[in-house]
Structure formats: structure tokens, C-alpha cells
């Protein structure tokens, strides 16, 4: 136990004394938040916030039912366009709409006789992630209307439609809200991937070999390395969230415990991927290139700070295979309590699959010299 604590402590000391490591681990993500935050908009500035284009088809809908589509206009993340079905569907295919909601003309009749009315929501299945998010929000809105109709039908209740399960706040996705979990995911990813560099360093310098000549158990060596990274990861998480709270009034609306759980899972997964890279690279220089080769595509294709809807279609299958996509999605789901592209279960399942796969490979490929 002392050996484990001393090894962990020694690793953290080394980390703190290495200025460039500190820069990449702390100042870089903070820098990102400040830069992107000022581009995407500051707290409460809704005009610059991320918005989804929604088409509404209300052809033939009587005037007394017009309040229903109007609810959509009050959802802050939606910019609503009204038009004919064919025109809106073309816009969807062009990519100018994220979803098209079609209300049947006999909507009110159905409601009056207490029969369910069918509301069609068109979306682009190729834009899977965005579509799921948008359709998710549309469904929440409709569910809210439905609840309003069957319960006490006051318009006001409908307008304040809470999407958070605990009803803590109304859905108000600003750019920074989308961005901050992404930056956190990026930081965790890089923390793990760049574990490759100290591993290569310890191998190249013969430190691993020297440690192997002592009775220090391998398990202690490995667990202490992981513990160091987890400590750094937790500090990074709090730093990033604190910066978000301080500069942009960011709030974590979900469970902190779940958030920490996902952070730990993410760190573990990316450490294993980093360890694989460390075994493939021969020298520290080639290690840095190799890590960047993995890091850069993941940064830009995993929806960390570039929303999925900007990613070209042909790259979407790549995006949907990357673990960072699911880490960012899970962090968003928890931190914002917002409907995410995938269900949290899917996110966790994919991350765990990556963890187990890369753990297996990392153990197989590990080299002491």
C-alpha cells in the first residue's frame, strides 16, 4: 500500500514539475473554453446560441388548434419555419431542416373525442445523431402538450415545458452548454491518450526495466499509473466546470456522481488506448506523432465542439465508431439533463466495449523495454 501511494505521489510530483504537461492538461482546455465560448456566445445571449431549424406543416389545421404548433416557436433551440409538406420535405433533404413536424388537419377532432392523433415527424436518418436529439426534443414537447391536454389544459404549463427529468430548468441549450461537456470529453481523451508519452519515456529511459528489478508488483505499477491519471482527470473536471460556472454561468443539472462515474470510465478507456499507442511507437518522437494521429481526428469528428451536423456525411460512420463521440454524448446527457443523440445506456455500453477491447490489447502489446 505504501508503495502504491508513493508511486502515485511520485508520478503526480513529476507531472506537476513538468511545465509543458501542465500547460496541455489545464491551460489548453481553459483556453479552448474561453476562445470557443466567446465565439459561440456568452451567458444568456440566446441569439448566438445553437439552434435547430424545424419545419412545421399546419396545412388545414383550424385556427383554434394553432396554439399547438406555436408551442414549438417558444422552444429556445428551435427556429421554426412553416410551409407546405412537399416544400418542407425538400428543405429537409437539402439539409435546411433538422426535422419536419406534420400536424393532421383533424387534430382537434381527435382530441375532442379522446382519440390519439397521429403527428408525423420527418427526419434525415443519415444525420442520425442530430436527428435523434431533435426528434427527442420534439417528442418531449409533444408529450408536454399531450400532458397539458389530458391534465389541466392551461397554455402556460405547456410553454414552460421542462425537459430535465427533475424539472430543474427549462431547456435552454446555449453554445457554451454544448461546448463545455465537449471540452471536458476532449480533456479526458487527451489525458488518457497522452499517457502514452510518459510510458514511452519510462521504457526508453530504462525506468520500467529498473522498476522490474525491484519487488514492486506489476499490478501496483499499473494501478498507481492509473490512479495518478484519475486524480489529474478529476482536478481537470472541476477546473473546467468551475471556469464554465465563473465565466458563463454554466450549471451541471444532472448528478455529480454519475458525472464522475463517466469521467472515470472515460479516463480508464483512453488510458488503455494510450497504452496501446505506447507499445506501437518505438521512440518518444514517433509516440507524439502517433498520439496526434489518433487525437486530431477524434477532436474534430466526435462532436466535441464541432456539432455532428457539420460533419460531412461520408465521415459519419467514422464518427459513430469513435469512443469520444459517446463520451461527449454521455457527458452532455448528464451535465445538461438534455436528450442526447444516443441513450445514456448506449453511450455507456459503447465506452465499456472500447474499454474492454483496448484493455485486452494494451495488456497483450505491453513491452518493458
Amino acid at each position: 500500500m505504501t508503495a502504491f501511494l508513493k508511486m502515485t505521489q511520485a508520478g503526480l510530483k513529476s507531472f506537476l514539475r513538468d511545465r509543458s504537461g501542465l500547460f496541455w492538461s489545464f491551460f489548453f482546455p481553459v483556453f479552448f473554453i474561453v476562445i470557443f465560448g466567446s465565439v459561440f456566445g456568452r451567458a444568456g445571449n440566446r441569439d448566438q446560441s445553437l439552434r435547430f431549424q424545424i419545419g412545421l406543416v399546419t396545412t388545414g389545421l383550424p385556427i383554434d388548434a394553432a396554439w399547438i404548433p406555436d408551442v414549438f416557436k417558444k422552444v429556445p433551440v428551435f427556429t421554426v419555419h412553416e410551409g407546405a409538406l412537399e416544400a418542407e420535405k425538400r428543405a429537409l433533404i437539402r439539409g435546411d431542416r433538422r426535422a419536419v413536424v406534420v400536424f393532421p388537419p383533424d387534430l382537434i377532432d381527435h382530441i375532442q373525442i379522446g382519440q390519439p392523433a397521429e403527428i408525423q415527424v420527418y427526419y434525415d436518418p443519415a444525420q442520425e445523431q442530430t436527428s435523434r436529439t431533435v426528434v427527442g426534443i420534439v417528442e418531449q414537447v409533444l408529450a408536454g402538450i399531450d400532458k397539458g391536454l389530458s391534465g389541466s389544459p392551461t397554455l402556460l404549463q405547456v410553454r414552460q415545458m421542462p425537459v430535465a427529468p427533475d424539472g430543474a430548468r427549462e431547456l435552454n441549450l446555449r453554445g457554451i452548454d454544448y461546448l463545455l461537456p465537449g471540452i471536458l470529453a476532449m480533456t479526458i481523451m487527451q489525458l488518457g491518450l497522452f499517457t502514452a508519452i510518459p510510458i514511452i519515456n519510462m521504457r526508453e529511459k530504462g525506468i520500467l526495466k529498473r522498476l522490474r528489478a525491484t519487488p514492486l508488483p506489476r499490478s501496483t505499477l499499473v494501478t498507481s499509473q492509473i490512479a495518478q491519471r484519475l486524480v489529474i482527470g478529476v482536478i481537470q473536471t472541476f477546473t473546467i466546470i468551475a471556469i464554465g460556472m465563473f465565466l458563463y454561468r454554466f450549471r451541471v443539472s444532472g448528478s455529480w456522481l454519475a458525472l464522475m462515474g463517466v469521467v472515470v470510465l472515460g479516463v480508464l478507456t483512453f488510458i488503455c488506448i494510450g497504452a496501446i499507442l505506447a507499445s506501437i511507437a518505438r521512440t518518444q518522437e514517433s509516440g507524439v506523432s502517433l498520439v496526434q494521429l489518433v487525437n486530431l481526428p477524434m477532436m474534430f469528428l466526435s462532436g466535441l465542439f464541432i456539432p455532428m451536423e457539420f460533419i460531412p456525411r461520408y465521415l459519419l460512420p467514422v464518427s459513430q465508431a469513435l469512443p469520444a463521440t459517446y463520451l461527449a454524448d454521455a457527458l452532455r446527457a448528464i451535465m445538461l439533463s438534455a436528450p442526447s443523440a444516443h441513450s445514456l445506456t448506449t453511450d455507456l455500453a459503447v465506452i465499456v466495449a472500447w474499454l474492454l477491447g483496448s484493455l485486452f490489447l494494451a495488456a497483450r502489446l505491453f513491452r518493458w523495454e
Partner: protein, 304 residues
């Protein structure tokens, strides 16, 4: 008492026998040197004994324990320096000793060790700021942190300046005085000759000879060398006429005559040179050295 027992040790890398049937024993309290050029198989041999590599075949026992079965127990009782001396550059000397101490059930005080190795002033200096000699002494301090019975030192003075080398020799001498067993690999003749109780000469994965330094020289050379410089333009082959000369070697402009009857040969040489009216300068006698033994056994110099 035997500290190390090795029998028919074999280790093959990519079809090359790096260690090719090596056998030897090291007694407790002895400084044993494995001498040989780079690539002779010294490091492979010592790394098998340190538990860093598995032998293909043969027997290796350290402190009465079998390497294959009791590897981790052996690691508790031995100390090790590796050829690569770099150690966690961002930690201080004291922190590093403290860290390594935590790996063993029992460890010495880091401060005492630093004082013993003349590093007390550097206790709070980061490893990366230490000189090569200081890092090497720190590596030795780390090898001693668990107060081991047996210490493996792999090329401990390679790359050090003469002063740093001498100070490390003193440290090794101190270990010897307190009864520790030291297993040393080196390619420095002088180091082996000066420190070791016994030496094994290794080349191409095999042990060519093993004895005390004096015993090695005596077993290989019954002759003595007469060495001197000659005026320019004189053919060294002329000295074959001097009675008692067995071989003639030229070394950096010096002539070296080998003889088994050195006194008679020397007086004959003087008479012959006087008769030739030849001025010989810087005449001296010397015994054969380990270097000579090495050249004779391997057919090459150790640094070639």
C-alpha cells in the same frame, strides 16, 4: 557459501546465442567481475540473474534460491544498477530513494545513503540536474536502499570521467569491506584488475577464462616484456638477433621484446645495442597485463 551459481546457461536471440553455455559460481563476500567487450553477452547474463530475462536453459541460483521459482524473493535481497542510469528526472535524489525504499519490506535511511555516497548536498536536487557521475552514484545508492547481500553493477563507470570513476571504485571497495557480494560487469581492464577478487573473461557468449587477475596473467604468460624506444630508421626485426627474444611487437613506436629469461635477455640486449652503437631510450620491464591476456584469448583488443 555460494552467492551465485550458474550452470550451462543459454539464451538465444533471433538465432544468435547471446549466452552460450555459461557456468560459474560467485562466493559470498567476493567481488566478481565479468569482463568482455560490448556484445559479449555480459549484460544478458547479469539480467538473467537479476530476473529481468528468462534463460532458455540452464540453472541459475541466486543466494540459494532458484531464479525461476523465487524471482520475487530474490529481488528483495539483491540490489541492481542497470547500464541506463536515467531515473525519473523530475524527482529529487531523496524522493527517489524514499520511493524505492517503499518497494522493500526493510530499507535504509535515504539520508544516510546519500551521505555515504557523497550526495548529501544534492539531496533536494532534481535527478535531471545531477552530473553523470552523481547520477551513477545515485543509481548505486538505489541499489543499496534495501541493504542487499548481493549487488549487481552493470558497467557502473562507463562514460564517467577518471575522478568520478575513482570515487565510485571507493564506494565499491567499501561494499567489499562490509562483506557484501558484488557482481560487476565491465569492459575496463583497469577496473577489473583493481577491484575484482576473481574475473571471468567473456566473449561471444562464452567464458574463455576465469581466475584471480594475477592468476589469469600467470596462466597465459610465463614471459615478461622489455619495452623501449629506438632511434628512427631502425628496423625492429633486427632485435631478433638478441639471444633469448621469443617475440617482437611494436606498440606506438615502442619495441616490446618478450622473453622467459628476462635478466639474461636484458644484459644481452645492452651488450648488443652497445656493439651496434645504438641509443635505446625509456627502457622498462613489465609483466603482461589483463589487456595482454584478453588479446591473447580473443585475438583482439577489448574496445575493437
Amino acid at each position: 557459501m555460494t552467492a551465485i551459481l550458474v550452470e550451462n546457461l543459454v539464451k538465444t536471440y533471433n538465432g544468435v546465442r547471446a549466452v552460450d553455455g555459461v557456468s560459474f559460481t560467485v562466493e559470498k563476500g567476493e567481488i566478481f567481475g565479468l569482463l568482455g567487450p560490448n556484445g559479449a553477452g555480459k549484460t544478458t547474463t547479469v539480467e538473467i540473474l537479476e530476473g529481468l530475462r528468462a534463460a532458455d536453459s540452464g540453472r541459475a541460483e541466486v543466494l540459494g534460491m532458484d531464479m525461476r521459482r523465487d524471482g520475487s524473493r530474490i529481488k528483495q535481497c539483491v540490489g541492481v544498477t542497470l547500464q541506463t542510469a536515467t531515473l525519473m528526472p523530475n524527482l529529487t535524489a531523496r524522493e527517489l530513494l524514499d520511493l524505492f525504499g517503499s518497494f522493500y519490506p526493510r530499507s535504509l535511511s535515504p539520508d544516510d545513503l546519500l551521505a555515504r555516497l557523497g550526495l548529501e548536498e544534492k539531496r533536494n536536487a532534481r535527478v535531471q540536474t545531477l552530473s553523470g557521475g552523481q547520477q551513477q552514484r545515485l543509481a548505486v545508492a538505489l541499489a543499496l536502499i534495501n541493504d542487499p547481500e548481493l549487488v549487481f553493477l552493470d558497467e557502473p563507470t562507463t562514460g564517467l570521467d577518471p575522478q568520478a570513476r575513482r570515487s565510485l571504485w571507493e564506494v565499491i571497495g567499501d561494499m567489499h569491506r562490509v562483506g557484501k557480494t558484488v557482481f560487476l560487469t565491465t569492459h575496463y581492464m583497469e577496473e577489473a584488475e583493481r577491484l575484482c577478487d576473481r574475473i571471468a573473461i567473456m566473449d561471444h557468449g562464452r567464458i574463455l577464462a576465469m581466475d584471480t587477475p594475477r592468476g589469469l596473467v600467470q596462466a597465459q604468460f610465463t614471459e615478461r616484456a622489455i619495452q623501449f624506444t629506438i632511434p628512427e630508421g631502425v628496423d625492429p626485426a633486427l632485435f631478433a638477433q638478441v639471444p633469448g627474444v621469443l617475440r617482437i611487437v611494436t606498440e606506438n613506436g615502442d619495441v616490446v621484446l618478450y622473453s622467459e629469461t628476462v635478466q639474461r635477455t636484458l644484459s644481452s640486449l645492452m651488450e648488443w645495442a652497445a656493439a651496434q652503437k645504438m641509443e635505446l631510450d625509456d627502457i622498462h620491464l613489465r609483466r603482461a597485463t589483463l589487456e595482454d591476456v584478453f588479446i591473447k584469448l580473443t585475438g583482439r583488443r577489448i574496445r575493437d
